[in-house]
């Protein structure tokens, strides 16, 4: 069931990004980045089981954000990466602060079940948040940088994207897994989580190469 949903999510996200770029150009990509980053703050809290190993949700959005950073560097140059990092950092930080503050609010009388669920979800998740923000911001930065360097050597989207994905996802996964689960999780489980997360992310990253080609063909409206 989860694998089917994962495939479905990949296709939906792929379609959404393509549609947004066609309708809003570069702003469409930033629109997805903002939605994705805010929702990632929530989705990384949920764990699902894939091939009997626990992983967090939001993997597809995570990879989509990396792919968008590559598209931005590919189409608009290295300067765009700095803007992306700034917007991403602001979005992650502000959304986390506001959501956490709302989680600290003493619940009202109405809608008890929701209030309780809300408080459980958004209370004390600082460790996951730090893992999320560190891995994403650092990941986006080196992802764009590596792609830019590879593009300078040889401009082949397919090879550059796969190479970037393989290397960067390895680093991203190490940062996230260590910061989020080290000490509290058994080392064998941790390695399993790392491997499954890494394999899935690399596979999705490869699929998303299609998106880079599709967007590369679109001529931007002025």
């Amino acid at each position: 069931m989860n694998i089917i949903l994962l495939v479905l999510e990949v296709l939906i996200v792929l379609g959404i990004i393509y549609f947004l770029y066609k309708k809003l150009n570069k702003n469409g990509l930033y629109l997805f980045i903002i939605i994705g980053l805010i929702l990632l703050n929530v989705f990384t809290l949920k764990t699902i089981e894939i091939l009997s190993i626990d992983i967090t949700t939001g993997i597809v959005i995570n990879i989509a954000i990396y792919t968008i950073s590559i598209i931005l560097v590919h189409k608009y140059g290295f300067e765009e990466l700095k803007k992306l990092i700034f917007i991403s950092a602001m979005t992650l930080l502000f959304s986390y602060i506001i959501i956490s503050l709302s989680g600290m609010l003493e619940s009202g009388l109405y809608n008890d079940l929701s209030n309780e669920a809300y408080n459980i979800i958004f209370a004390s998740n600082i460790r996951l948040f730090i893992a999320n923000i560190t891995s994403i911001l650092f990941g986006i930065w080196i992802n764009g940088l590596l792609y830019y360097k590879l593009k300078g050597i040889k401009n082949i989207i397919f090879i550059n994207n796969i190479l970037t994905t393989i290397i960067i996802q390895f680093i991203d996964n190490i940062i996230f897994t260590v910061l989020a689960y080290m000490v509290t999780t058994d080392i064998v489980v941790l390695i399993g989580m790392f491997l499954i997360r890494y394999i899935i992310k690399v596979l999705i990253g490869i699929i998303f190469t299609i998106l880079i080609y599709m967007i590369d063909r679109i001529k931007e409206k002025i």
């Binding site: 069931m1 989860n2 949903l5 479905l8 999510e9 939906i12 996200v13 959404i16 947004l20 309708k23 809003l24 702003n27 469409g28 930033y30 629109l31 997805f32 903002i34 939605i35 805010i38 929702l39 929530v42 989705f43 809290l45 949920k46 764990t47 699902i48 089981e49 626990d54 949700t57 939001g58 959005i61 917007i87 979005t91 502000f94 959304s95 602060i97 506001i98 959501i99 503050l101 709302s102 989680g103 600290m104 609010l105 003493e106 619940s107 009202g108 009388l109 109405y110 809608n111 079940l113 929701s114 209030n115 309780e116 669920a117 809300y118 408080n119 459980i120 979800i121």
Partner: protein
């Protein structure tokens, strides 16, 4: 404690509008609009108590959406209105779609957040349906009314305050009544709506003053 957190959230939201408008420029306000829409969706599931009134947690971010739109509408271009609607509709559809997909993933045995996430979003499915409808409708009303008022009287403070008083009434009737229908008794629905409306009126007054100051600020990036 709740009053303090509420005040802190209000300052944060206002600071973000001021920061984006003065430092990053009017174009980036569209991205802030997306940010506030997503935050409003997430916060709409929580009710908190302030001064013995039960209030929906999203009212700060929700009222700020209208402040942002009114800033955009000041010295507006016709394509801005189209863009506001496009950005709102895309953000709402994409975020709700992604939230629903994440709910349907089968959670792992060890994770408890997943159950709460499902409880929160699927139990409040009516809120997820009524929020987008209400937002689009109130945005349409706001734009029509604000532009009409602007054509006869050029005072951002009064125009914003007057539009908010009327538009938020529609929001209260639609969002609270339809969103919580069946969950609260009729008397509770009326009390809840009135409490929210009262708080929104206060926020609208503060926002209008803020809007007046921000629009007359000469140090704005064009």
């Amino acid at each position: 404690m709740n009053s303090l957190i509420f005040l802190l959230m209000l300052i944060l939201v206002m600071f973000s509008i001021y920061f984006v408008y003065t430092i990053l420029g009017k174009e980036k306000l569209f991205l802030l609009l997306v940010f506030m829409i997503i935050i409003s969706i997430l916060l709409s599931f929580k009710t908190f108590k302030i001064l013995n009134l039960n209030i929906n947690a999203n009212i700060i971010s929700y009222t700020s959406i209208f402040t942002i739109i009114n800033i955009i509408l000041d010295k507006y271009r016709k394509k801005d209105i189209k863009k506001i609607f496009k950005v709102t509709i895309y953000s709402l559809i994409i975020s709700i779609l992604l939230i629903l997909i994440s709910c349907f993933y089968l959670q792992s045995i060890n994770g408890f957040i997943g159950i709460n996430m499902k409880n929160l979003y699927l139990y409040n499915i009516m809120l997820l349906i009524t929020f987008p409808i209400t937002l689009i409708l109130t945005e349409y009303l706001l734009i029509k009314l604000y532009l009409y008022l602007q054509s006869i009287y050029k005072n951002a403070f009064i125009n914003n305050l007057f539009t908010c008083i009327i538009v938020q009434l529609v929001y209260m009737i639609l969002f609270i009544f339809l969103g919580y229908l069946g969950k609260l008794s009729l008397i509770d629905l009326i009390i809840y709506s009135l409490s929210n409306y009262l708080c929104i009126l206060l926020l609208s007054f503060i926002n209008s003053f803020f809007l007046y100051k921000i629009i007359n600020n000469k140090k704005v990036k064009s």
